[in-house]
Amino acid sequence: MRAGVAKLLVRLYPRYWRDRYGEEFEALLQTRAGNLRTSANVIWSALRERVSPTPGLNQGRRSVQLHSWCMRAPWAVFGLGPLLFLAVAYFVACFILWSGWRMFLPQSNTPFIPVGGYAVFYFEAGKLLYYAAPILVGWAVVLVCARQNPKAVWPGVGLVLIALVGGTTQVHAYRAAGGPEHVSLGFALGSFLHGIPGGASHALMILSLTMLPFVVWRFQKDLASR
């Protein structure tokens, strides 16, 4: 394997791991064939080390600050923090919708109409951010949870909140006759509680997708400890 590729692959591992094994591991990679299988094996192992660190190896070196926050204020790390990140992502998505509307559809009374050309990419980027944000934020919660090993209550509350917000948020866009464009977010929580299948199924889908890596990680951990 080329020295540059080996160096790059070693950098995928956490710093504490690299400090201990980085040099010898890089030397080993340079003696192996640089095929896709080897690279995939290293990437997967590095990911596992990041999600489930070798017990004892990272003792005293893991993020003490984050660990302390997880113990002292789990409601902030797993509840408020993810919601803030979600709010920022939704704000950016709304900004993309609003600016795209002004740039590409200045005559239209709504941005929700078929578009062509570069406008497709612009609006699709906003849409992707809007739909992916709850899942990505949920995965971040699961990652922190896997690394810091807190009690399951707050991460559970955080994931349910994210799913609820993701499933009930609605984007409203309107323009008064001749006036400026308005884009706002609303929460259809009332109709959700009355059993609107769309919102409920969307929230359940988000919850399932965010829980999936956690379930896989637990399964792997149980297998490894047998």
């Binding site: 080993l28 094996n41 192992s45």
Partner: protein, 114 residues
């Protein structure tokens, strides 16, 4: 659609069964012969049981075994670091292999009775 012949399926199944895949045990078994560095371990394990450990899997096992005190590092030789099995590692390997030996004997006996 591609079809897979029954012979290929049987070969793949046999190959999967032949490849013993417990990386920490494989590393311990390899080091039971004497100290080795990563490259030598991969080749030795492939010769021992046909399992081709990836470098990431190998070092995952090495890190865990070292933290458990079952292997220990020796002085590095030109960026390559050899490892050797500890007394505790030998004890664990012996216990595990004895269990496997008893298991395989019992299993073979049952097969003979068929």
């Amino acid at each position: 659609m591609r079809s897979t012949s029954p012979n290929v399926v049987v070969r793949q199944r046999d190959s999967a069964l032949e490849n013993f895949s417990d990386p920490p045990m494989l590393v311990l078994a390899s080091l039971a012969e004497g100290p080795k560095h990563g490259h030598a371990m991969i080749d030795d394990i492939a010769g021992l049981c046909g399992t081709h450990l990836g470098p990431g899997t190998l070092y995952g096992a090495i890190a865990r075994l070292e933290q458990q005190g079952l292997i220990e590092p020796l002085a590095a030789e030109d960026r390559r670091r050899p490892y050797r099995i500890t007394a505790e590692g030998s004890r664990v390997l012996r216990a595990r292999l004895t269990t496997l030996h008893k298991f395989s004997k019992a299993g073979l006996k049952r097969l003979e009775a068929l």
